[in-house]
């Protein structure tokens, strides 16, 4: 009986060694390339014709654009427009990665903590540098909101700790949702064959769970993106 964790194994497809560092092209890298090609290709075709009355594919592209533009306007406001490309990229990359992971026999690269942590730590460092670039050392006023009574000052270490835990929570949220979802699907699917005729019940459950997992794929991409927008908003506006 295979373990449900075997689906997360990273196996090299093209082994490449740079000295003592293993930079092989793995199945994780392959699915990242497939994600970029699928997402980029779909959006390129959607934007290709530029018709005044959009066809179906162009509508999808426009809906996606409007969705993210509305998100940025709600959270950051007018000066958030310059961050639109990175936010849009994050959303489309995570969403397409999550959805492609639902395809049978594929590999969900967002279900690895190293992938999500790499994205989260880069976002965190970029947002912190943005805060320092815009406000200088006045950025530390973020931890002491204006109008704090003196007795609340011991809260500052707690505030700093909660700020430093942002990349970890951002990364673990996405990784754990994806990993737990796929493990659950594997475990229940394992019961289908084992139960013979009554395997129809776990099969119905797998169908329902697959629907739930697709909703979670959208939701987790949305939450990752909106939290990034909120962190950018915190850095720009300091409260």
């Amino acid at each position: 009986m295979a373990s449900p964790l075997e689906q997360f194994e990273i196996s090299p497809i093209v082994p490449i060694q740079l000295g003592s560092v293993d930079v092989s092209f793995t199945n994780s890298s392959l699915w990242m390339v497939i994600t970029v090609v699928v997402a980029g290709g779909t959006l390129a075709i959607a934007a290709g014709r530029g018709a005044m009355v959009p066809g179906r594919l162009q509508s999808i592209g426009e809906l996606l654009y409007e969705f993210i533009a509305g998100l940025i306007k709600e959270t950051i406001g007018a000066e958030g427009r310059k961050y639109f490309p990175i936010i849009f990229t994050i959303f489309v990359f995570v969403l397409t990665g999550n959805l492609l992971g639902m395809v049978p026999y594929s590999f969900t690269f967002t279900s690895h903590i190293i992938v999500t942590f790499a994205m989260a730590i880069v976002i965190f460092i970029a947002v912190t540098i943005l805060g320092f670039a815009r406000h200088g050392t006045h950025f530390f006023a973020f931890f002491v909101p204006p109008g704090t009574p003196l007795i609340m000052y011991p809260m500052i270490p707690i505030e700093i700790l909660s700020y430093l835990s942002r990349p970890i929570s951002l990364a673990v949220r996405l990784f754990a949702n994806m990993m737990a979802g796929h493990i659950l699907l594997k475990v229940i699917a394992g019961f289908v064959a084992a139960m013979g005729v009554f395997g129809i019940l776990p099969l119905a459950l797998v169908v329902a769970l697959t629907g739930l997992e697709i909703i979670i794929a959208f939701l987790q991409a949305y939450v990752f993106t909106i939290l990034t927008c909120l962190y950018i908003n915190d850095s720009i506006k300091l409260h």
């Binding site: 929570s169 949220r173 754990a176 949702n177 949305y222 939450v223």
Partner: protein
Amino acid sequence: MDFDSAKLIAAGLAVIGVIGSGIGIGMIFSSFISAVGRNPAAADDVRAMTFIGFALVEALALFALVIAFLILFGIQPGA
């Protein structure tokens, strides 16, 4: 107590933390339903916040689950 039994008991204890998330998600959707019941026109405005809140609370349940997995599959004997 031998190592494997200790791992299993520890993983079981770690997952108890998911109770908090169950209560939290129930509270979020209960207030969503009350809000929509009182003011159906506000449904779309409140819905976005509901789903963000749900994802944030669910993340905590998954932190507990990740600790359970780390205990079950991440510790080697003698570590």
